[in-house]
Amino acid sequence: MDANSFVFPNDPGIAWSIMIVLYPYITGLVAGAFVVSALYHVFHQEVLKPVAKLALVTSLCFCSCATLPLLLHLHHPERALNIMVTPNGTSAMAGFGFIYSLYMLLLVVEVWLVFRPTIVERANSRIGAAGLVYRILALGARKMTDGSRQVDDWAIRLLAMAGIPIACILHGYVGFLFGAIKANPWWSTALMPVIFLISAIVSGIAGLIVLYVGMCWRRGVKPDADCVRAMCRYLWVALVVAVSLEMLELGHMAYESGAEWKVLSTLLTEHLAVSYGLIQVVIGSLCPFLLLLIAVRPRLNPRLMTACGGLASLLVLVQVFAMRWNVVVGGQLFSKSYRGFVEYTVPWGGREGIIAAAIVLTLPLLALWLADKLLPLWQDSEPSASLPFETGSRIMSPEPIGAAFAITAETPPAERTQPVQAQLTSPAK
């Protein structure tokens, strides 16, 4: 072949930037946080009750920002809906709009149902602009009865059950996209969706531990030690599975020693030596593995356990980000003709720079902060009558639970603003 007949180069640089690293990172947090909430709502892991609502709202907040990195990367936000208006049935990417929308819808409805007791109570008791917001959120249903509570419990469990496979599909699909690119030996493996999914669960649990411990610290309250220990236990198991799968995949490639292994081994030992070897494996996997082993010891001092669990979770979050980086950027660093490498330096500014990435990662936290202002993420800041979320026996309620919320628009404003506990002791109107 006459090389001078072609215009080179064919691999001038990387096309998928840090924004495409952030996208699976954020959707991973979404899916992982949802799985934690489902462990409580579906599998009745009561020990996770302190974080059940936080997990659900975290999932919603991160999901609401999941498309931002894609919009920043693709430009032309005015074309965003084309993926749903004129989808290409033969492209896996075309599934994104529908999967994402379905999951977002499910999350919104489930969050609404979970917080409905609070919404109804505040719609009936608050006045002014805040009251208007809650009245809009109540969608005209401003009574809570035992029957409606039963229906809510049933619907929440149903949505949580349906949400587990949808959350898995949402994130497994991201791994599928990479795994299906057969021209890239670093991506093209059937294990990719599974690895992405398990690492999503890892990042979701770790993110929740960090958020829960951080928010408790900010509020000046002690985290629930049993809850943190249980999450550490789940995190440890998920981390072991995720890292094992990653190592199995790598070991498989090395053992096969196909034509691509020469360039892949150089990629790992030279170009990804820090981000893969040091950050992903040593700092992000080995250290949390040991720290979590300490944290899950039953008789460990709760403060030490929380510190170990929190630190391990922070490191795991770094590990998962490094994993996304190594997959997305690493897969573009080498020539597809296996002839060499390109360099990628993330710019500070610009639409796909470090500052933009930091803003994108901060926005879900800002949304979480706003959600915390709007709805009670903590058990002690919500109406006590709305504590039970399981069917069957009700927990310590001085009056029939429905009575607490049977406050109608005719309730005098002065009475509406009274503390909820006071309303609990007065008969319903």
């Binding site: 001038p12 208006v85 004129t86 819808l105 969608l139 029957g147 039963q150």
Partner: protein, 186 residues
């Protein structure tokens, strides 16, 4: 769960939500129907009519043979050069308007042709015809890059300019201190 509750007033809120979801879905389906362009999907996931529209546009490709009709000297200059494989428009732009003007000028004595413009070194800039003594044009092929065959002439710019003792290291036309464009010698 008592299933009778589903159809009682206790489930009113669920029916409201269900109605909103169904209404939203219906609006989406209706809206999509309005937004999908005609002929979309007839031959695949694209507008079939786009094929005819594209085919009806005049070709913007000006081949070397068209250029060399007038610029025969350049053809001779490149005859033995490795650059004979590089098409004119790669370094000088599409030249479509230029060719149209040249064809008119050939039929109309006295008609002038717009002179070529100075290129700004940005490949996103659309200029019909430009003169190019810009390093960017050379480096798009000759800068050391992944995927090049070993025999292809590649340079590390900084090292090469230092080795050759270039006078204007940062100059855009620094390559032309030693090299010609059409003839690759030396």
């Amino acid at each position: 769960m008592n299933w009778k509750l589903i159809f009682s007033r206790d489930s009113l809120h669920l029916w409201i939500v269900s109605f909103l979801v169904i209404a939203g879905g219906s609006v989406f389906v209706w809206g999509r129907g309005q937004l999908v362009p005609e002929t979309y999907g007839e031959q695949g996931p694209y507008r079939a009519a786009a094929l005819e529209k594209l085919a009806s546009k005049p070709s913007v490709l000006v081949s070397d043979s068209v250029c060399l009709k007038c610029h025969a000297d350049v053809g001779e200059e490149r005859a033995e050069s490795l650059h004979k494989a590089v098409s004119c428009n790669h370094c000088h732009g599409l030249g479509r308007e230029h060719v149209v003007q040249a064809q008119k000028a050939a039929k109309t004595p006295g008609l002038t042709i717009d002179s070529a413009k100075e290129w700004d070194g940005n490949f996103m800039t659309h200029i019909d015809l430009f003169i190019t003594q810009d390093r960017a044009t050379c480096l798009v092929c000759h800068e050391s890059m992944v995927g090049m065959p070993e025999g292809f002439k590649q340079i590390n710019v900084a090292e090469h300019l230092e080795d050759m003792g270039a006078e204007e290291v940062k100059g855009r036309d620094v390559c032309f201190e030693c090299h010609m464009g059409h003839d690759t010698a030396p």
